[in-house]
């Protein structure tokens, strides 16, 4: 409403430095923070993984104690999934999706920032457990009652509360993207013209929306059992430990797809760009994505074949699980046929994308094998499963993340990652990955259960474990090369040029660095791959869909940071049983909510006079 223009200050306050970053509601900055925090946790969890592999390089080593080992595996899994892979994807989504759909902002910038800070404080809380009496030690799956009455440290308290807080944040992120994508697409950007990464974000967000609330409840039940003496998982008082398994996997299986669908999306952007061809079978790809997500909710009990659910349940879930292979196969073939007949270039981004295909395929194949319930009675909880999900999550999600990183780095950080170092990173990590995880298939079948702090001599498990550990060292070297690459890239002055990869989608139709308002004028979308369509029509930029006008922007706010801090403080109240601190923390949170409700926030406007020079300069916006 025009009347609001007068109510708000015309000149936005110029903030700088740390204050700017902790109050930002700009999706691009939120995205960068997600990405950086996620990357930090990725390195931390990677370090934990290396310690695990050092312990297992020879039989019967005692480099870390059994208790510490269990803490390491728990923190490695939990951190990688909740604090590394998901936030990095959320970071990429935040940075890229609004640009891809032609939006100036996300639907809920405030809530977006809140989600970010909840994740950061949740992650911080979880990791502080290392210094405050020991990390959680019941595995990332936290099966009760090992996680309730039999836990060796107070770490599970940190697990329950830290992940609860981070989970709230993720849920907010999910709702934000759903609404953004439905309501804020540019003129002409119909659903069936939307880039696959945006589609993947949309479907992933729907998965988050329905998968995280069950986990929220699960964490509450664990928390009540641990803190307040309830009996959900206390067999003697009528509790049932299987309920936790169900709740966890009702969340946990969709979570796997939350981790892989965005990677599918990235691949569907990177492969067409570097094949110089449109995505083969776009509508089949969209349909397959949605179908995978839908089926993802129907198969959770395949993690519980040995729980004793009986042959009927096991058969149903086995067959249901197999069906997921069909849409996944469709995706693999569509990528192959996207490259078919193209002009494939192999910068590092595409190396990762192409390497994804066979690596993920192996993970998918072992996935089908695992769905065969009578065979899973052996695979379950062995290194075969460890190998399987690392093929899916490293060979799939992480390779996808790396492809996306090298691809979108100029978009997000304005500079090009070094290609030579990139290729070193690729080859060391790729070879290391297969060395680490391929032998683990055999170790599992040869009788090595997962989550063992050591293995005994003379069971013919020595060779596989040794190779596996060597592979993990190679992956470490690859990661170090990546860090060096990032530091060197950010240290240099040279800014990336406009549209460095011959891009196809709207995210490449914007100047580098991205202006705060993304698009001075919203673009008119004329087809799938809108920028490519314009290029084929002889334009190097988008046709505007509207005249130049004032742009409405949201005000930044410190509240998201403070609200997350309140939860952080409340958690310590619960953990150390100081009820007053817990109550004050939660009250603080609700007080901030009240402030948010009571104080009108109409945002500010960037005047068109400020924009005009940008457009006249022949900027590509």
């Amino acid at each position: 409403m025009a009347t609001h223009t007068e109510q708000v200050s015309l000149n936005r306050k110029q903030r700088s430095g740390i204050w700017d970053w902790i109050t930002t509601v700009d999706h691009k900055k939120v995205g960068i923070l997600y990405f950086l925090a996620g990357f930090f946790f990725f390195l931390l969890a990677g370090l934990e993984a290396v310690i695990i592999r050092v312990q297992l390089i020879y039989p019967e080593l005692n480099i870390v104690s059994a208790q510490t080992f269990n803490e390491l595996i728990t923190m490695h899994g939990t951190t990688m999934i909740f604090l590394a892979a998901m936030p990095i994807f959320l970071g990429l989504m935040n940075c890229i999706v609004p640009l891809q759909i032609g939006a100036r902002d996300v639907a809920f910038p405030f809530m977006n920032a809140l989600g970010l800070w909840l994740f950061i404080f949740g992650g911080l809380l979880l990791n502080l457990s290392w210094f405050l009496g020991g990390a959680p030690d019941a595995g990332w799956t936290a099966y009760a009652p090992l996680s309730t009455d039999y836990s060796g440290t107070s770490g599970m308290d940190f697990y329950v509360l830290g992940l609860q807080i981070a989970g709230f944040g993720t849920l907010m992120g999910g709702i934000n993207f759903l609404v953004t994508i439905i309501n804020m697409r540019a003129p002409g950007m119909s659903f069936m013209r939307m880039p696959m990464f945006s589609w993947a974000t949309f479907v992933t967000s729907a998965l988050i929306l329905f998968a995280f609330p069950p986990l929220t409840i699960g964490f509450f039940l664990l928390m009540f059992d641990r803190f307040f003496g309830s009996n959900f998982f206390v067999a003697d008082a009528g509790g049932n430990v299987i309920i936790w398994e169900h709740i966890f996997w009702i969340f946990g299986h969709p979570e796997v797809y939350i981790l892989i669908l965005p990677a599918f999306g990235i691949l569907s952007e990177v492969i067409p760009t570097f094949s110089r061809k449109r995505l083969f079978g776009y509508s089949a790809m969209v349909f397959a994505t949605a179908l995978i997500a839908f089926l993802g909710f129907m198969v959770w009990a395949h993690h519980m074949f040995t729980t004793g659910l009986g042959p009927v349940a096991n058969s149903i879930f086995a067959v249901a699980t197999m069906t997921i292979a069909i849409p996944t196969g469709v995706k693999i073939f569509n990528w192959l046929f996207t490259m078919w007949g193209g002009q494939i270039r192999f910068p590092t981004a595409n190396l990762w994308a192409v390497a994804f295909i066979p690596s993920f395929l192996i993970g998918g194949m072992t996935g089908v094998m695992l769905s065969v319930a009578p065979a899973d009675y052996h695979y379950h909880d062995t290194y075969f499963v460890v190998a399987h999900f690392h093929y899916v999550i490293v060979g799939g999600s992480v390779f996808g993340i790396f492809a996306g990183m090298y691809f979108w780095w100029p978009r997000i950080f304005g500079k090009m990652l070094n290609e030579t170092l990139g290729k070193w990173h690729f080859w060391t990590f790729f070879v290391g990955f297969h060395l680490t995880f391929f032998p683990q298939h055999f170790l599992g079948l040869m009788g090595m259960p997962r989550r063992v702090f050591t293995f005994l001599e003379g069971q013919q498990l020595e060779l596989g474990n040794f190779i596996s550990s060597i592979g993990s060292f190679l992956m470490t070297i690859g990661s170090i090369i990546l860090i060096i690459n990032i530091i060197m890239t950010q240290a240099k002055k040279e800014v990336a040029e406009y549209d460095p990869w011959d891009g196809r989608t709207l995210d490449w139709a914007i100047p580098i660095p991205t202006p705060v308002y993304n698009f001075a004028q919203l673009p008119l979308v004329k087809g799938l791959d809108p920028l490519w369509v314009e290029k084929m029509n002889g334009n190097n930029k988008m046709t505007p869909a509207e005249p130049l006008d004032d742009i409405h922007m949201p005000n930044s706010s410190i509240l998201p940071f403070v609200m997350s801090l309140c939860f952080f403080i409340a958690s310590f109240g619960f953990i150390y049983d100081v009820l007053i601190v817990a109550i004050l923390g939660i009250a603080g949170f609700f007080f901030c909510m009240l402030l948010r409700s009571l104080i009108d926030d109409h945002g500010y406007y960037i005047k068109k006079e400020e924009l005009a020079p940008v457009v006249d300069e022949g900027g590509k916006a």
């Binding site: 059994a66 208790q67 030690d137 009652p145 090992l146 039999y150 060796g152 067999a235 509790g239 430990v241 094949s275 061809k277 449109r278 079978g281 089949a284 040995t306 729980t307 004793g308 058969s315 086995a318 197999m322 292979a325 069909i326 196969g329 469709v330 693999i332 073939f333 192959l336 046929f337 490259m339 078919w340 007949g341 193209g342 002009q343 494939i344 192999f346 192409v354 295909i357 066979p358 194949m365 072992t366 089908v368 094998m369 769905s371 065969v372 319930a373 065979a375 009675y377 052996h378 379950h380 909880d381 062995t382 079948l445 040869m446 009788g447 989550r451 702090f453 005994l456 069971q459 084929m536």
Partner: protein, 322 residues
């Protein structure tokens, strides 16, 4: 074929020695063959595409044809996997039902065993024969044995890879499975569900005996009584009655907090994973935590002197079925 024969003889799931593990193994092989076929097809297309369609110098001006898709192809790569999965799904369902355990009827002479898992040891009860063992499970060869499983603390999982797939032991609930060994031998068993620090060391043994040997063993078990022969062992018995019996049973007497020690002298291993030597037994009594972290047995190095411990070792080693 490459896989068969991988791993240690009596541990590997790839060298099935039991009826159930053979069924599982056949299902593994079926799925592996199908999957290798899929991998081969994808690998061929992948390699061809990567080599054939690399960008070459001079390509810059040629824009590849922007193919939208191909319905026929989409149908093909949807339909063929469906067929393959049907081939896999039907035997999967059949085998799932074959492997399910049915409770034996009244009057059925199926051997029944109740497995109870504890942090970090296994109790095996033979309800119809009315005796207990721990850590070593004796079964007759060539018979389907009905196994009931539960736990007294956290969730564990009972796995004897060479004989059968695993089954969880859930506190407060009872699961069932069956096992059948096709040839005599000593098979390694493991806990397959994270259950605490010593999860890795929660091993056990399944000893499959020919039917007549098994019957003889049962007879010995029923008549087993502790009658220490040597002087040292007699001294050991006294110490045992004083210090150990509240947790450990021998014969019909004693607590059930720790493993039943009635036939301790017959055990294949000490604590499931250590070699059964005098030295190891003594070390265990002195400080169990050093060997198997976080187990529930207190250390006796301050309560008992070396002589007492040696006497105890002598006594324990004499506890045998025959």
């Amino acid at each position: 074929m490459l896989l068969a024969g991988c791993g240690e003889e009596n541990l590997s799931a790839l060298r099935p020695k039991g009826t159930a593990s053979k069924i599982s193994f056949d299902m593994m092989m079926l799925s592996i063959y199908i999957m290798l076929g899929v991998f081969f097809v994808v690998a061929v297309i992948f390699t061809y595409v990567i080599l054939k369609y690399r960008k070459r110098r001079g390509d810059e001006d040629i824009i590849p044809e922007q193919v939208e898709g191909n319905t026929t192809l989409e149908v093909i790569w949807t339909a063929i996997p469906i067929l393959l999965l049907l081939i896999l799904a039907i035997p999967t369902v059949l085998a799932t039902f074959t492997l399910a355990a049915e409770e034996p009827q009244e009057g059925d002479d199926t051997l029944k065993i109740q497995v109870t898992a504890y942090q970090y040891w296994w109790d095996f009860n033979y309800p119809d024969l009315e005796f207990n063992t721990a850590q070593d499970l004796y079964i007759p060869v060539g018979e389907k044995i009905y196994v009931e499983l539960t736990s007294k603390d956290v969730i564990h999982s009972f796995w004897v890879p060479a004989l059968a797939g695993k089954m969880d032991t859930n506190p407060g609930l009872t699961n069932a499975m069956w096992i059948e060994a096709k040839e005599p031998g000593v098979y390694k068993g493991k806990c397959a569900e994270l259950c605490g620090p010593s999860h890795a060391l929660m091993d056990f043994r399944v000893i499959a005996l020919e039917k007549d040997e098994f019957d003889a063993w049962v007879n010995h078990m029923k008549t087993a009584e502790s009658a220490p022969q040597t002087e040292a062992a007699q001294a050991g018995e006294e110490i045992f009655t004083e210090s150990c019996i509240s947790c450990h049973a021998v014969g019909s007497e004693g607590g059930n907090i720790g493993p039943d020690l009635t036939v301790f002298g017959d055990r294949e291993t000490l604590a499931g994973f250590l070699e059964m030597t005098d030295e190891n037994i003594a070390d265990w009594i002195k400080d169990p935590q050093a060997l198997k972290p976080a187990n529930h047995m207190p250390a006796f190095k301050d309560q008992l002197n070396d002589d007492e411990i040696n006497a105890l070792v002598a006594y324990l080693k004499e506890l045998k079925a025959n």
